[in-house]
Amino acid sequence: MEKVFFLIFAAVAVGSALAVVTLKNPVHSALALIACLLQVASVFVLLRSPFLAVVQVFIYVGAVMVLFLFVVMVLDIRQARMEAFPQKERWFVYAIVPVITVELLTVILGKGFPRLGPGSTEATTVEVLGKALFTEYLFPFEVVSVLLLAAMVGAIIMVKKRWD
C-alpha cells in the first residue's frame, strides 16, 4: 500500500519537476514547482516525519512560492516566453548536467542510505526534534540563525541604498 502511494507521489514529483524547467510560461512553471514541493512533502509523510512535511508546505509552498509568484507576475512574461528552451548560448549547462548526474548516481548507488528498519516506523515527534535541535545540534542551529540574520540585514541594506 505504502509503496503504491510512494510511486504515485514520486512519479508526480518527477513529472512536475520536469514541467518546471520545460514550460515556457514562468507562471506555469511556478505552479508546477508548487505541485512538486507538495509531492515531496507527501513523501516526507511516508518517511514518518510529519513535522518536516508540514514545515515544507508552510515555508516553501506557503511563503517562498508566494514571493516567487509576486516577482514573476510583475515581470514581462511575453519576453520570457520568447526564449527558447534549452537555450543555445548556455552551452555550459550541457556540460554540467552529466557531471552532476554521474555524481548523484554514484552517491545513491554506491553508498546507499540506511534502510528504514522495523524500529523506525514510529513517527518523529516534535518533542524529539526539538530536543535534538537544542542539545545535539545547537551549534549548527545557531550558525544557521546568524546566517539568516545576515541575509536579512543584507536585504535591508540593499533596499536602503536605493532610497538615498
Binding site: 508548487i34 508546505v57 509552498v61 506557503g62 511563503a63 512560492m65 508566494v66 507576475m73 510583475v74
Partner: protein, 339 residues
C-alpha cells in the same frame, strides 16, 4: 483486518459529513450576513423569497448555476478554470485536523467515536500551512484573468498574506507556549475547567495574543477592514472581477469557509473549545462549541458593517510595525511566565 475496515468506514463517514456541512454552510451564512447588514443599516435585508427572505440563498444558488460562465478571450484558460478549485481545496483540507469535540460513545454497540478526523501531533502547523495555500487560487485567478485590476488584487493579497501570516504564526506560537502542545485536542484539554483556565484569560499575555490572532485572522480571510484585494473602490472587485456564475460562487464559498476556520481556531486556541465556562450548565459540549463559533462569526459580520476599510499603507503598517513587534515582546513575556 475487520477493525481496520471499520476504522476506514468511520473516517469516510466523518469526511462525508464534514464535507456536506461545509458545503452547505454558506447557505445559512449568506442569509445571516445580509440580514445582519440590513438590521445594522436600519433596513430589512432580503425579505421577498420565503418568510423573512430565508430562501434567498437558494434563489441565489439557482441564479449562480444558470448564469453564463464567462472566460475572457485573452485569459489563461486552464489556470482561469483551475483557480477557484485551488482556493477551495485547502479551505476544506484544513478541517481534517480540526476537532469539534472530544468523543462520544455510540449507544447499543458501546464504541467510542472521536469527533475529529485525526489528532495530529503537528495540527497547529498543519492548519497554518494548509490554510495559507488557498492564496494561490487568488493569485493565479487574478493573473489568469488578464486584467490589470485582477492582477493588482492578486498581488495585494499575496503581499497581505505574507505580512499577516507572520503575526498569525506568532499568535499560534503563543498558544502553543501556553498549552504546551501542538495538537488541537491537547490545546483544548489544557484549557478545561471553566472560564479562568482559558488561554484568553491567561493574564497578562492571553488577551494580547487573542487580539493579535484576531486581527491577523481578519486580514488572512480578506474581511473588512482588511479586504484590500477586493477593494471595489479602487480595484473594481479585485481578483475575481472577471469571474461569473459558479466559479465566482466557489471563491465566495472558500471565503466563507475561511471565515469559519478562523472562528473555529479562535475558539479552540483561546476560548476553551467545547469547554463549559461555568461548569454547571448541563449542555452537550458540541453545543458550546457551535455556540462559541457562531458568536465569532457574528462578530466578523458586525465588524464588516461597522468599520471602514484601511488604506493599503496602513494595512502594511499595522502588520509589520505593530503586530509583529508586539508579538515578539509577547513571546518573551510568555516564555518568562512559563519557565
Amino acid at each position: 483486518m475487520f477493525e481496520t475496515t471499520v476504522e476506514v468506514i468511520i473516517i469516510c463517514i466523518k469526511v462525508g459529513v464534514a464535507g456536506m456541512v461545509l458545503f452547505s454552510l454558506p447557505i445559512p451564512l449568506t442569509w445571516v450576513e445580509r440580514k445582519v447588514a440590513g438590521h445594522i443599516q436600519v433596513r430589512l435585508g432580503p425579505f421577498r423569497v420565503g418568510p423573512h427572505g430565508i430562501l434567498q440563498p437558494v434563489a441565489d444558488m439557482v441564479k449562480m448555476l444558470l448564469k453564463e460562465d464567462v472566460i475572457p478571450t485573452k485569459a489563461d484558460k486552464w489556470l482561469f478554470m483551475l483557480a477557484p478549485i485551488m482556493t477551495m481545496v485547502p479551505a476544506f483540507a484544513v478541517f481534517v485536523a480540526i476537532p469539534v469535540g472530544d468523543k462520544f460513545t455510540l449507544p447499543f454497540i458501546g464504541k467510542d467515536i472521536t469527533l475529529y478526523m485525526s489528532d495530529m501531533n503537528v495540527a497547529v502547523v498543519y492548519i497554518l500551512a494548509v490554510s495559507g495555500l488557498s492564496i494561490y487560487g487568488i493569485i493565479f485567478g487574478g493573473w489568469a484573468s488578464n486584467s490589470k485590476y485582477a492582477v493588482m488584487g492578486g498581488l495585494r493579497s499575496a503581499a497581505q498574506m505574507i505580512s499577516y501570516e507572520v503575526a498569525m504564526s506568532f499568535a499560534a506560537v503563543g498558544v502553543v507556549m501556553l498549552s504546551n502542545s501542538l495538537s488541537l485536542v491537547e490545546i483544548v484539554k489544557s484549557q478545561s475547567g471553566g472560564l479562568f483556565h482559558w488561554n484568553f484569560l491567561y493574564l497578562p499575555v492571553g488577551p494580547v495574543w487573542f487580539m493579535i490572532f484576531f486581527i491577523a485572522g481578519l486580514a488572512e480571510v480578506n474581511r473588512i477592514p482588511f479586504d484590500l484585494p477586493e477593494d471595489e473602490g479602487s480595484l473594481a472587485a479585485g481578483y475575481h472581477v472577471e469571474y461569473s456564475g459558479m466559479r465566482f460562487a466557489f471563491f465566495m464559498l472558500a471565503e466563507y469557509i475561511a471565515m469559519v476556520t478562523i472562528s473555529v481556531l479562535a475558539v479552540i486556541f483561546f476560548l476553551g473549545g467545547w469547554d463549559d465556562p461555568t461548569g454547571v450548565i448541563p449542555l452537550p459540549p458540541i453545543l458550546w462549541f457551535v455556540g462559541k463559533v457562531a458568536a465569532f462569526i457574528y462578530l466578523f459580520m458586525w465588524i464588516r458593517f461597522t468599520l471602514p476599510r484601511y488604506r493599503y499603507d496602513q494595512l502594511m503598517t499595522i502588520g509589520w510595525k505593530i503586530l509583529i513587534p508586539v508579538s515578539l515582546v509577547c513571546v518573551l513575556v510568555t516564555g518568562l511566565m512559563r519557565i
